[in-house]
Amino acid sequence: MIRLVLLKELVDHWRDLRSVAGSLVLVVLGPLLLFGMFQIVQNLEKERPLEVPVVGAEQAPHLIQHLVANGVHVLPPPADPEARVRKGDADMVLVIDDHYAERYKASQLAHVRLIVDDSRNESHKNVRRVERILLGYTQGLGALRLMARGVSPQVAAPLALEELDLATPQKLAANLLSMVPLFLMLAALVGGMNLAIDSTAGERERGSLEPLLLNPVSRRSLVVGKWLATALASTVVALLTLVGMMLTIQQLPLERLGMKIALGPREAGLIVAALLPLTLFGAAVQMLIATFARSFKEAQTYLGLLNLVPMVPSMFLMMGSTQNEWWMYPLPTLAQVTVVVSVLRGDLVPGWQLLVIALSSLLYSALCVAAIERLLRRERIIFGR
């Protein structure tokens, strides 16, 4: 009986071309989005060439040496430095004071001027780099002068400031990886959503629930058949999305960003093992909600909101918590994100984690199925009053 119900629901769903096509949009969209975001990250990596026109370079050969050694392309002086910066032709222009050479030799305060346009965001990064290089030069030189006079440079440097930039492309790319589980879960939920609604709220709305319940078949067989059909549809869409993601990740130049992502058959197998329990549980929850809803439309509204749930753990993980704790595994969606990200990082996923995920999801699914069974005995649910 379960198989009969399962087959009927799948045939019925498969013929609903529009909703099948709708769920497949995500299969294409996920990998595309991943690819696009990676391109953006890559563009961040490609820095603007650090070109600095210098006026009076001949005054400070030592300083120029230092600049070149730190990756600065020193350009010949422009005619009107301020105009060039204002127009944006140059990020900045370094002007070395006419008296620089003599003051430098006399260990006096020597002046350099950096002409910048602070309103230009795109030049900020390069300006900061040059400023830091100049600061490094002046600190190093000062230290040398102090040492030459028998004074410890630390006397003049009470603070040792070290800056750690977290917005590196590597870090961003790693965060992008948490999109992979998000899309897989979204695909799993969207893939079965229409079938879940059609076989519960839809069945009642088109008036076929009452005739269906007039057959000598237990409520449980009907519910389990519909549930498995929904889970199967979810699984197919999730698997297609996974394949799409794998192909995309293989195309991405991850090595250039200094990342190593392992996504072979073994990793895919682990991801599927973590994902399957979610498709079962997701299908059961969707059906429970849709059974409770008063109409097809109401069910669509509720399940649309349910689709947002997988975003929560992804955000949670993006916000920084990378510690994997035992309590994450019996929490659907959080468990999947944790496992998928671990797998992609190449970390080990112990078997007990997968077991906890599978058993907890099966338990929740069983509770949902039992609840739907009970609902289908209520007159209000059967006749939609």
Binding site: K8, V11, G207, E210, P211, L214, N215, P216, E379, F383
Partner: protein, 243 residues
């Protein structure tokens, strides 16, 4: 045989069904007549096990519907109030699904599909998806679906609703045939013409109670009215809700 024995159902302050009892014999067409809202559909839902009665019981061939719903449903073919179909399935697939749910093997379902298509004059509909069917065609599919397991007891709730004249006449012939073949047919309607033309026995509902249970001839004799229509109005007390 269908026996209804003292059924009661309340919805809040509404006493929808108040101690209803009657019996529908094998080989006969028993009509349930009454205005809309008289309690016919609620009574039939209690008969089909989907609504729990507050008191009383319903028996199908002696099987208590509430105690052994599955056994009772095997012996019952019911066209309920809501008769929705699956728009993306063909008529034949509907019969296959419901026949399977009734536990029939595949060849037997095929056999029944052919017979029912013949009986209901819907052979050319069998392999079309029901999405584009007319009201009459849908009703035929719904009836075939209810009869796919060849039940000895047949309950039709407002079977001719929405049918045109030709289809209604054809339906009457079918109902007669089913009764003549020995089935117990229970037929509910709010259309007097239909019930009087078809039924061997007429059970009249009004305000949740059975107000009359008699053959058409007895009805005429009891009310002293020659015309059945006047007899009904006489019994119910008004003609509100009847056609």
């Amino acid at each position: 045989m269908i026996e209804i024995d003292g059924l009661e159902k309340r919805y809040g302050s509404v006493h929808a069904v108040q101690g209803v009892s009657f019996r529908a014999e094998d080989g006969k067409v028993t009509g349930l007549l009454g205005p809309n809202g008289a309690g016919k559909t609620t009574t039939l839902r209690m008969l089909s096990s989907l609504v729990q009665p507050d008191a009383g019981r319903a028996l199908v061939d002696g099987i208590d519907v509430q105690r052994q719903p599955q056994q009772a449903l095997r012996r019952l073919g019911m066209l309920p109030d809501s008769r929705g179909l699956y728009p993306r399935l063909t008529a034949r697939e509907h019969l296959a699904y419901f026949g399977g749910l009734q536990g029939l093997p595949g060849e037997e379902i095929e056999q029944r599909a052919r017979e029912l298509a013949q009986l209901l004059d819907m052979t050319e509909l069998l392999d079309r998806r029901v999405a584009g069917f007319s009201q009459g065609e849908r009703t035929k599919v719904a009836i075939a679906r209810a009869l796919v397991h060849g039940p000895p007891n047949i309950v039709l709730d407002e079977a001719t609703n929405g049918l045109d004249v030709m289809s209604t006449r054809a339906m009457r012939t079918v109902i007669r045939k089913l009764a003549d073949s020995g089935c117990c047919v229970l037929f509910s309607s709010h259309v007097m013409q239909e019930v009087s033309a078809l039924c061997d026995r007429i059970v009249i509902f009004a305000r949740g109670k059975v107000v009359s249970d008699a053959t058409p001839a007895e009805l005429r004799a009891r009310t002293g009215e020659d015309n059945l229509e006047n007899a009904f109005v006489n019994i119910i007390g008004s003609d509100a809700g009847l056609e």
